[in-house]
Symmetry: C2
Subunit: 204 residues, 2 copies
């Protein structure tokens, strides 16, 4: 009934090719603004050939999103109860910022989906993501209650890490336009600024 688990060399290559191309296209134009032809062209495949590997445009998009979610949640999952609180949070922030630098298309794919109402992942947000954030918010609150971090709202603290770090991927063109051409890589300054920000906010 289900498809064979073992993929041929060609299948692996083409699925990877399509995923790459689809990531570029979907992250730039959103789901409805992207076309199958465009993805096929970007992948150097004919449209029917692409549709031989994925049954529909929806399927490609869904494949990307579910692959992405794991990568996306990993840094927060790795924030552990038993470290030095401020260091744990700064490390989380830095890993998220790293992802904005190294995987801006993934960040924009996600941003497009959320901005447009998250029709395809709203359920995941309300279950997996909410559960994870609830858990980590408790950890953070524990640190604050123990006086190891200055008090503030743990949920909005997490939101602020998301928004500040993802901004450098999602709004990249704006950041670069404002900083001007002489300042070619905004990330080092961003990391210094965000380190200062969270240190002053959270140092007990």
């Amino acid at each position: 009934m289900t498809k064979p688990v073992t993929r041929t060399r060609i299948q692996r290559k083409n699925i990877a090719l399509i995923s790459e191309a689809a990531l570029s296209v979907f992250s730039t134009y959103g789901f409805r603004g992207s076309t199958v032809d465009q993805i096929a062209r970007e992948a150097n495949l004919s449209k029917p050939n692409l549709l031989y590997y994925f049954p529909s445009k929806e399927a490609i998009h869904g494949h990307l999103l579910s692959t992405l979610m794991e990568t996306w949640l990993a840094p927060l999952q790795d924030m552990k109860d038993d470290g030095e609180p401020l260091e744990e949070i700064l490390t989380y922030m830095r890993r998220k910022l790293q992802m904005s630098r190294d995987h801006p298309r993934e960040s924009r794919l996600f941003a497009n989906e959320i901005v447009q109402g998250a029709p395809r992942i709203i359920e995941m947000l309300e279950t997996e993501l909410k559960d994870l954030v609830d858990e980590k918010a408790k950890v953070i609150e524990g640190w604050m209650d123990d006086g190891r971090l200055a008090k503030s709202d743990p949920y909005h603290l997490i939101f602020s890490i998301w928004s500040l770090t993802q901004h450098y991927a999602d709004f990249d063109v704006q950041v670069r336009a404002v900083l001007g051409p002489e300042n070619d890589d905004p990330f080092p300054a961003a990391e210094r600024y965000l380190t200062t920000l969270f240190t002053r906010l959270l140092a007990p």
Copy 2:
């Protein structure tokens, strides 16, 4: 040669109707993901009737964007050299947060445009916006040099105000999914959190 400046009552009504509808549609699906039919339906007009007021889909979108930019830059323009520094910045932050609450569609229209590479406003970002930010960054830097604000990067400070406040409009569904249905209005807590954040970051 140019169109008459005086608009009839009907023109004013229909242009307003179309702008409203187009704002809803474009902010949800982005430029390429939106259709003229959809906007016409939302505005309760026939498609040819809509195209009687705007020559093309591009024209509607352009009209919205240029109207929006003025509203969008106003709060930063209003940040004045002669106030109490921390208060000026907190007021700016609060006005931006207010805009996320009261005009989320405008924020998402803007976000869609930027995330998708800002093809239609990149020039404005590199001139008007950059000039304005350069000017205000100088003001902020002056405050820091005078010891009236703690030092940090003024450009990234402005970016952080943008990202933190717009997050509550652009990523609204995610914020609500994570906070759960019992917490229906995230804005009061957001304002308290952001006030604390910027106070701790900037208080001299």
